[in-house]
């Protein structure tokens, strides 16, 4: 097998490898700025310099040549090489900054040059704390600068498009953003303008940077040159906790991170998953953080004299049970939801099964024209396939209407049927309507009983995407009834680890009075004298895996290990729009 020698250690490799990526995959480090694993390597930042050479082999015997001391003969490349575009070759010798003074010096020299025209406004820069330039300057940079003349001044606070702001002075011209629009989103909206130390990325004159994936350029910008117009100046990176999650605004199931401070989700960034979304996510999904914070339903609500008023959990349980008992089973329709997780849907269906009700029905949420053949599908609900795999009856709009018409008691699990025009408010007249909902909506407003439930940011639960991949969320924020210090799965931020108790998470106002669906179902069952004891998503999934064939082998541990599990789904559902 071909071998490569890095800093004196021998490694074997197969196939094509860029030396920089190879070194990174080994868990070692070479500093870089312009390289990105999902894009071409332009080798323009000149930071990832290494010393490279080749052990000489005897052409006839194929053995390494040795000198009089018995050491292998190395033919060094005449110049230092950028490791990002250097392909690993058999017998290659690489020295990084760890073992070679010249390399160390070259990297230091390069950082000095990068920084001479950089404004060094880290204290007011959003990127500080997650800035490759800042980190690598501390690690590999010079102690100070010898630059004593005037810096180049360039445009600042340029609104490139609706979502992205440019500070050209901070730009180090790595061209990651322009390459993103050329190679990944293929809108070709960004280019570098001007020459030399005056150049910076921008759009064509009079054009907006309204690429539907524009915010990815903010993520990959290795400095604070491109910032999100929405997130700008909202929070320092080290004040937030980063929690892995799944985008619930589209069926694609893009892997994301939720960034939380003081029980508010402040931003959404993509999380790498080679099988789903690579490093990217659509701008549309970034707005989703608002649904976790704003317009939330807190405490159950009940209609009294035609007006919704705040109620109590006990009242809600009593009312719900009363309605179930009073209504003939054939007059009850339970509408499950592609917007709710597998666990929530399962818990609800298990309860209704115990009651002897019909299997829940659901209708997928299709928005024609959303699909873009990249990371958006026409199915804008995160879990339609989950409902299918649980064996729920899939109905179109007309059939749902018909079902509702027949019923006297309608139970809707987190699905804004009125808002998305499946049914009209009139269809629910003269019926008792129970809605499990996270946020206020036209649907929740028509309900006689509203049960506030947790969002994907407040419970750990799984969703099956349009391609049949089941992936799960983690708890990113607390409710009135949880304490993150007792929850080992909740992520720790830097302030949690190094701050005082008062540095973080102090506002009670941002906690919502809601329960996971299954916790509420436990109480319902108890009041009807049924045996149900769901504890959390993890155990519910274990139960699903052992009882529903389609989910066999699925567990949180397995999903965590493989960043999601591919389930077998019928072909026509996988291509469902």
């Amino acid at each position: 097998m071909p071998e490569i020698f890095i800093d004196g250690h021998r490694y074997e490799f197969e196939g094509d490898h860029k030396v920089l990526q190879f070194i990174q995959d080994l868990g070692k480090e070479v500093p870089f700025f312009c390289y990105h694993p999902s894009m071409t390597a332009p080798a323009n930042c000149r930071q990832c310099m290494v010393k490279a050479g080749q052990y000489m082999k005897d052409r006839e015997t194929g053995d390494y040549e040795v000198d009089e001391n018995g050491d292998r003969v190395i033919r060094w490349f005449p110049k230092l090489q950028t490791s990002c575009n250097l392909m690993a070759a058999d017998g290659m010798v690489i020295l990084t900054q760890e073992t070679d003074e010249l390399v160390k010096r070259a990297q230091k020299d390069n950082l000095e040059l990068i920084l001479i025209n950089h404004p060094l406004d880290c204290p007011i820069c959003d990127q500080a704390g997650e800035c490759p330039l800042q980190i690598q300057t501390y690690k590999y940079g010079p102690e100070g600068s010898r630059f004593e003349v005037k810096k180049v001044h360039k445009p600042k606070r340029i609104q490139l498009g609706p979502r992205v702001v440019l500070d050209a002075e901070r730009c180090i011209n790595c061209t990651r953003c322009t390459r993103f629009t050329q190679e990944i989103s293929k809108t070709h909206q960004l280019t570098i303008t001007s020459r030399g130390d005056k150049n910076y990325p921008t759009t064509a004159p009079g054009r907006e940077f309204d690429d539907p994936y524009s915010l990815n350029t903010v993520d990959i910008c290795p400095v604070g040159a491109l910032t999100s117009a929405d997130f700008r100046f909202k929070a320092r990176v080290w004040e937030m906790n980063q929690t892995p999650s799944i985008d619930i605004t589209n069926g694609k199931g893009t892997n994301i991170d939720l960034w939380t401070r003081d029980n508010l989700i402040l931003r959404v960034t993509p999380r790498y998953n080679a099988d789903v979304n690579d490093h990217w996510m659509p701008d549309a999904g970034r707005e989703a953080y608002k649904i976790f914070n704003e317009n939330r339903i807190s405490r159950p609500q009940q209609k009294l004299d035609g007006e919704q008023v705040l109620s109590s959990w006990n009242n809600a349980i009593a009312t719900f049970t009363e309605q179930i008992e009073e209504t003939d089973n054939s007059k009850i329709v339970v509408i499950a939801s592609p917007h709710a997780s597998v666990e929530e849907n399962y818990a609800l269906s298990k309860y209704t099964n115990l009651l002897g009700l019909n299997q829940p029905v659901f209708t997928p949420h299709i928005e024609e024209g959303t699909r873009d053949d990249f990371l958006l599908s026409d199915d804008v609900a995160p879990n339609a396939n989950g409902c299918r795999l649980l064996g729920f009856t899939e109905l179109d709009k007309a059939s749902i209407k018909k079902e509702i018409k027949k019923a006297e008691l309608v139970v809707i699990l987190n699905d804004n049927l009125i808002d998305r025009e499946v049914i009209a408010a009139d269809d629910l007249k003269e019926k008792f309507v129970v809605v499990f909902a996270t946020n206020n909506s036209d649907t929740s407003k028509t309900a006689d009983l509203v049960i506030p439930i947790t969002t994907a940011a407040e419970h750990a639960a799984s969703y099956v995407n349009v391609d049949g991949r089941i992936q799960r969320t983690y708890r990113a924020k607390e409710t009135k009834y949880t304490d993150r210090r007792l929850d080992l799965e909740m992520s720790e931020g830097r302030l949690d680890r190094y701050g005082t108790n008062f540095d973080n998470w102090v506002t009670e106002d941002n906690k919502v009075d809601c329960l996971p669906v299954w916790a509420f179902i436990n109480s319902l069952a108890e009041s009807s004298g049924l045996e149900l004891n769901f504890s959390d998503g993890r155990e519910i999934m274990d139960e699903i895996a052992s009882t529903v064939d389609s989910f066999s082998g699925v567990s949180y541990a397995a999903m965590d290990e493989q960043s999601g599990i591919q389930l077998s789904i019928k072909k026509e559902t996988s291509t469902s729009k």
Partner: protein, 430 residues
């Protein structure tokens, strides 16, 4: 050292013939004979390979600055696979002090066109581009006229001169960027992109224009091909210096009485060239010479004794032939000013792709401006020298080297003048 007999040399690229740029005059004086011979004389030329071998043995060292054997470069082209292949002729000529190709466009465009056609035939290329710098508007128009005349006469186009060889020829205008004279950024520019040098490998012979095999040659280099085919490789390699043979277009500018382009054999003594150009202006004393365009290391007058214009001789005193664009400076020249002006040029022209050049060129200029204005300190000189090592050899193309060398060598060779300027401030304060 044998002196080159330049006094009896008769120019071939720029002969004294009136209206040579007109195609009729050119053909009357033996023009397109070489092309005809290559295409039709199957006894003499057993196919394209024979042409490459002839050019290789003539040892035409590339006249664009790098001095690489043109025939050898041609032989790097992979075998023809039926797909497009390109010849890109580099007439960007943007190095300060260089203006030789302009004379070819102006006085003898057909000798270049003929050479390019022969080169294209030798490499089985079907499309030729000539990239001319945007500032040469007049010469671009002249070239377009010459190319269209050659099309009309059947020297370019389908089945040239009755052979089965067809080729197209396009004149392409640059837009005023120095960097587009670097061969791979010229390719980017030809493709309609921003002029950024490409990372090599892959080399243009493998993946050039639009990802296809491409050879890039200087205008003067290709012009010499015509003579080599007409008179033979031996004729060419017998002219001038042994290791860098053939006629050279010397572009002489600066403080001489008759600046201009002079066609002479390679290896003419530098001091003789100054005499050929009419001697020093106003009888002043020579101070320094930049031998081959502004990026080549400057030479002090006292270094020039016996030094001839070929790479070997110039290497002995630490300089290069480059483009043979000679800048002559007399005793009144302010060397600090000269260096600042050169640094200003490279700062202005750095494409900005690689960090060391983008940031380094600006820093060099700013320090030199400070020194020029009398605000410099001696430690600034050492910083400048340090910066040159931070830039050299660390970028994709050679522009960082081109920007760093003048600074390094000018300071090293005229350090006393720089120090004197730096100390002015110290004296004033004292």
């Amino acid at each position: 050292m044998s002196t080159v007999d330049w006094k009896n040399y008769t120019p071939v690229l720029l002969p004294d013939i009136k209206d040579l740029h007109k195609i009729d005059v050119y053909t009357k004086n033996g023009g397109y004979k070489a092309l005809k011979s290559v295409l039709t004389d199957k006894k003499k030329w057993e196919g394209p390979k024979a042409v490459i071998d002839e050019v290789k043995s003539a040892n035409i060292r590339g006249r664009g600055g790098a001095g690489f054997n043109a025939g050898l470069k041609w032989s790097f082209m992979p075998p023809a696979d039926g797909g497009p292949r390109y010849l890109a002729c580099n007439g960007d000529e943007s190095e300060p002090g260089t203006f030789k190709d302009r004379k070819i466009f102006e006085y003898n465009p057909h000798v270049f066109i003929e050479g390019a056609l022969i080169a294209a035939y030798a490499m089985e290329i079907t499309t030729i581009y000539v990239y001319i710098r945007g500032e040469y508007k007049t010469y671009i128009d002249m070239m377009e006229k010459a190319v269209s005349d050659a099309y009309d006469k059947g020297f370019i186009g389908k089945n040239i001169l009755g052979s089965d060889y067809s080729v197209d020829f396009y004149v392409h205008s640059g837009a005023g960027a120095y960097i587009c004279g670097e061969e791979t950024s010229m390719l980017e520019s030809l493709e309609g992109k921003r002029g950024y040098p490409r990372v090599k490998p892959p080399f243009p012979a493998q993946k050039g224009l639009w990802g296809r095999p491409t050879t890039i040659n200087n205008i003067e280099t290709l012009s010499h091909v015509t003579g080599v085919i007409n008179k033979g490789a031996e004729w060419f390699s017998s002219i001038g210096a042994k290791n860098h043979p053939g006629p050279v277009l010397y572009g002489i500018s600066g403080h001489v009485n008759n600046p201009g382009v002079y066609e002479l054999p390679s290896g003419v003594p530098v001091l003789d060239l100054i005499e050929i150009a009419g001697g020093m202006r106003n009888g002043k004393k020579l101070k320094a010479v930049i031998p081959g365009g502004s990026s080549t290391p400057i030479l002090r007058a006292d270094q020039l004794d016996g030094i001839t214009m070929d790479s070997d001789s110039l290497r002995t005193v630490g300089s290069m032939l480059g483009t043979a664009g000679i800048v002559v400076m007399d005793e009144d020249t302010d060397i600090v000013d000269v260096l600042w002006r050169i640094a200003h040029f490279y700062h202005h022209e750095s494409c900005g792709q690689c960090t060391p050049c983008r940031e380094g060129t600006g820093w060099l200029e700013k320090i030199l401006l400070k020194i020029k204005n009398g605000d410099g300190e001696v430690r600034d000189l050492d910083l400048l020298l340090d910066l040159t090592t931070q830039m050299e050899g660390r970028t994709i193309c050679a522009l960082a080297d081109a920007a760093a060398w003048p600074v390094r060598f000018t300071i090293n060779r005229f350090r006393d003048e720089f120090e004197a300027r730096c100390k002015k401030k110290a004296h004033a304060v004292a």
